[in-house]
């Protein structure tokens, strides 16, 4: 049977990721076993830490908020055929917009701060996505390389600005002044003490809105149609009169702007000031989330909750099992990227064979019934 049919839709979007994820967890379990701990016990602590009580759920949702933005940033660029691994840098530099608006309007109301901060962070993050997009579209640079370089350039700029511009006079540590009043985005625990001390805030709802907005943009608007067409077949898009370079630039800008939302969640939602490395790798998690979630908003929402749970449960795990550090989460993240992204063929080919054989077995029967 050399001719294999493509997988049924449900297998493609649910079964395959589930198998890949299971494999990633089995290998992670073996690693846990290697350091002499019980993987099932570890799983139990992880799950309890992530979902077992209000504060845990609050943290899970807080992390998930970041991952929704990061995952969508990756997905929108992917739909345009661009591999944006610059969400980290885009979010980092967007922190400037968040903190400046927060400090400037600290004496007003958060309802004014939030939209303006989103605008500012989105604009700066968008610019940081636009430049690699422009260089790819007009100058033929490789987006992967340019976005990697832009992550480092952003890091250098931020360290300089924090040390030389934003650091309050007399302060020793490289961080900005703090927002104390309206600049803080309200945390949900202020309304509902269920969440304990968890920092989950209004940005959770913004994340949900952006999820829906992305769905509408990609599948219900002309621009989204153009983005997806260009991503799937640039030549066809060109013949259909779509300007490839324009679409690349637009998609990369939107991607960067969405990544910028992470900055608001972290800077105005938790830290209340701009600190070095506040993005903490969340931008990179977006790659795993996007791949896991098949670049679809629903998948991204689920994958973001999964990774949110991993991050929160992982902190808990590191606390109760000292042999397991929180870097275990990065290992799981790596395995998820490896199996769902790069080694997809591992399960896809056998599954395709399996379903093709299933189909062939079915056909003679229907003929018998007819005859």
């Amino acid at each position: 049977m050399s001719i294999r049919k493509p997988l049924p839709r449900w297998a493609d979007i649910a079964l395959l990721p589930a198998l890949n994820l299971t494999l990633a967890f089995v290998i992670s379990g073996l690693v846990v076993l290697m350091v002499g701990e019980n993987p099932f016990e570890a799983m139990k602590i992880l799950l309890y830490g992530a979902f077992g009580y209000g504060e845990g759920i609050g943290y899970t949702l807080h992390f998930a908020t970041n991952f929704v933005f990061a995952g969508l940033a990756f997905a929108i660029a992917s739909h345009a055929g661009q591999f944006n691994i610059g969400a980290e840098g885009q979010a980092y530099i967007a922190g400037l917009g968040a903190i400046l608006v927060g400090l400037w309007l600290d004496q007003t109301h958060w309802l004014l701060v939030l939209p303006l901060a989103m605008l500012a962070a989105g604009a700066i993050g968008g610019l940081w996505g636009f430049i690699p997009g422009y260089l790819a579209a007009k100058r033929g640079s490789h987006v992967v390389i340019t976005t990697i370089m832009f992550n480092f350039i952003a890091a250098a700029i931020m360290v300089y600005i924090l040390n030389n511009v934003l650091k309050p006079v007399g302060s020793m540590s490289p961080e900005s002044a703090s927002v104390v009043n309206a600049g803080k985005i309200p945390q949900l625990r202020e309304f509902w003490d269920f969440f304990g001390y968890a920092p989950v805030n209004i940005m959770l709802f913004i994340a949900i809105i952006v999820l829906i907005g992305t769905y509408i943009l990609l599948w219900r608007t002309e621009l989204g149609y153009k983005i997806r067409t260009m991503g799937q077949n640039p030549n066809a898009a060109l013949y259909a009169g779509i300007s490839n370079s324009k679409i690349i630039m637009i998609a990369m800008t939107i991607s960067g702007a969405i990544a910028g939302m992470i900055a608001i969640n972290e800077v105005l939602g938790v830290q209340n000031r701009l600190v070095i490395d506040f993005v903490f790798g969340y931008g990179f998690v977006g790659i795993a989330v996007g791949l896991m979630g098949r670049n679809h908003p629903i998948g991204i929402a689920l994958a973001a909750i999964l990774f949110g749970a991993l991050y929160q449960g992982g902190l808990e795990l590191a606390f109760y099992m000292p042999a397991i550090t929180r870097e275990m989460i990065i290992v799981i993240q790596a395995l998820v990227i490896l199996f769902t992204g790069a080694m997809e063929g591992l399960f896809r080919a056998p599954l395709e064979t399996f379903f093709t054989m299933l189909d062939l077995n079915k056909k003679p029967k229907t003929q018998e019934q007819e005859g």
Binding site: G140, F152, N164, T325, A334, L338, G341
Partner: protein
């Protein structure tokens, strides 16, 4: 004389800082010339550094440490190869996964084995590569000009430094003067033609990727058991990406790789010395500006504003044999 001595010291530290970049960039050269993009240089280097330091600490033998580093680099490369050659997965995604795998595993295993926050303990005697004196170094030491150059700059490095610089002509010879090299470059440019000639494209690419793994492992070993005396959490700190930048900056050519890594090594060395120094005309240069320079230069070059960097034609595309 003072300026001259300062310059010698600066160049000496440039040499030390160039070595990991040079080894990693040459590693990337093999892989990318064969058509496999590798943004996982950073991770392989980090894993190699950890493997080298762990074994050197446990055995007290620097050579065993070095070979462990190379071995771990090869294992990581094998994962990259299986994902991106055998399963025809996305090479970039495989590289991203390798980077995270190394960043997570080194700290996780390091913490559970050595309990020092992800670092390895300081290496015992014999576990670390020490400087070697070249012949006549002591005798020539006091000769003006030539003395300091020979004694400080050329002599007095550890063996991996000399291996690294020797790798440049060796790589040039291997890639451009041998049949193996011709085939390796050919699978990166036009795999179909090579396949037609009866050469196994995937096997060629695997060889290139494994050489890449060995060299990144050596680069890592240099960091953890030669340049410093032990593994430190995330000790590569972006060097793998600077090496990648250097490789692009060098337009995928061995000799240019040497120049590019020397340039980036020089920037790195001068950044440490320029901290807080007022230069004439320019004034004080922010350290961050020098740190960001390799990345900015690469972006500018890639965009074709100064020259043009065009990679191997078949780079990034898994080869599918026609049936």
């Amino acid at each position: 004389m003072d300026i001259f001595n300062n310059l010698i010291f600066l160049l000496d530290s440039m040499v030390r800082l160039t070595v990991p970049l040079l080894l990693a960039a040459l590693a990337g050269l093999y892989s990318e010339r064969s058509g496999v993009f590798d943004i996982g240089l950073e991770g392989k280097m980090l894993a190699g550094a950890f493997g080298a330091a762990s074994i050197a600490y446990l055995t007290g033998n620097m050579w065993l440490g070095m070979f462990a580093g190379i071995g771990i680099g090869i294992v990581m490369a094998l994962i990259h190869g299986i994902a991106s050659i055998t399963f025809r997965g996305n090479q970039i995604i495989a590289g991203v996964a390798i980077n995270f795998l190394a960043a997570g595993l080194t700290v996780f295993l390091g913490q559970s084995w050595f309990k020092q926050g992800g670092n390895t303990p300081a290496l015992p005697e014999g576990g670390r590569f020490l400087a070697i004196e070249l012949p006549f170094a002591d005798a020539l030491k006091d000769v003006p000009i030539i003395g300091p150059i020979y004694y400080e700059l050329i002599s007095g490095h550890n063996i991996i430094v000399y291996i690294a610089f020797a790798m440049v002509p060796f790589t040039y010879w291997l890639l451009f003067k041998t049949r193996f090299g011709l085939r390796l470059r050919a699978v990166g440019e036009n795999p179909k033609a090579v396949d037609t000639a009866g050469i196994n494209v995937n096997l060629m690419r695997f060889k290139a990727v494994l050489i890449c793994g060995a060299l990144t492992g050596l680069a890592g070993a240099y960091l953890s058991i030669a340049l410093s005396a032990g593994f430190v959490k995330n000790m590569t700190a972006g060097m793998g990406f600077i090496a990648l930048a250097a490789l692009i900056f060098a337009k995928w050519r061995p000799l240019y790789v040497l120049y590019a890594t020397l340039l980036f090594g020089f920037l790195n060395a001068s950044q440490i010395r320029l901290q807080g120094v007022e230069l004439p005309i320019i004034g004080e240069v922010p350290v961050q500006a020098i740190q960001a320079l390799p990345y900015i230069l690469t972006v500018v070059l890639l965009a074709g504003f100064i020259g043009k960097a065009v990679g191997p034609k078949a780079g990034g595309i898994p080869y599918v044999k026609e049936r």
